[in-house]
Amino acid sequence: MEINHTEFKRCDVVKVSGRVDSATAPRLAEKLNEIMDAGRFRIVLDLQDLDFISSAGLRVLIGAQKTCKRYNRGEVVLANVQPNILSALDLAGFTPFFKIFDETVSAVGNF
């Protein structure tokens, strides 16, 4: 798994690539916590090159969404979600909890 974080004025874009499983999910949680601990709660997750996400990874996404949405201070949105990843999100019943954008630029524009 690789994580690339870009801080913009109105939001943060986090590009996650490779595999998010029980081995790597804690590192993703750590990165998202670091952003949220800095008081930034508008996060775009760019999933263009995400090959795999297990329930451990999905738990990180839903945990971050809960934190960001608290007090209406922000939210996590998803961009470039590949079909297999979308199937996993859907099966978990998590798709209603995230806005999903076809492109990162429109996800950033959401904020």
């Binding site: 297990s54 297999n84 199937s87 099966l91 019943g93």
Partner: protein
């Protein structure tokens, strides 16, 4: 049926996934079905480490696969605590985000992505058999 043995730690998951990809390719599954099998095996192995062994580096995971005429049969064996299958619950989607529980999701995924799931306990081993047929969608 060759058997591959991995240390029961999360770092092994990516290596096991590579074998699953070889098996699903050999069997000729489409991308979505192959992804489902990869997920099911990943969740099962994570459960072995977390629940059967109660943590990393406490035992091994044995992985083997077999391709029959119309089925891919994957077997996982471990010597951890005996697995007691629980009722599989579909995640409740009609409740607000803050009340959503994320527990039991792994087991639910295993049952959704595979066509057959069998648990057995013999000679000190948990034996999990995961079967995928061709041309079936996830449930």
């Amino acid at each position: 049926m060759p058997t591959f043995v991995f240390p029961g730690k999360y770092e092994s998951l990516a290596k096991i996934a590579e074998l699953v990809q070889i098996a699903t390719r050999e069997f000729g599954l489409d991308s979505c079905a192959a992804y489902g099998v990869e997920t099911a095996v990943d969740e099962a192995c994570s459960n072995i480490i977390e629940h059967a062994y109660g943590g990393e580096n406490r035992g091994e995971i044995e992985f083997s696969y077999e391709i029959a005429a119309d089925a891919l049969i994957i077997t996982l064996r471990d010597q951890g605590k005996k697995f007691k299958p629980k009722k599989i619950e579909k995640p409740k989607t009609n409740i607000p985000l803050k009340n959503r529980s994320d527990h039991g999701l792994g087991l639910y995924f295993i049952h959704q992505w595979m066509d057959e799931v069998h648990y057995d306990h013999r000679e000190g081993y948990n034996i999990l058999t995961l079967i995928k047929h061709k041309g079936t969608m996830s449930k």
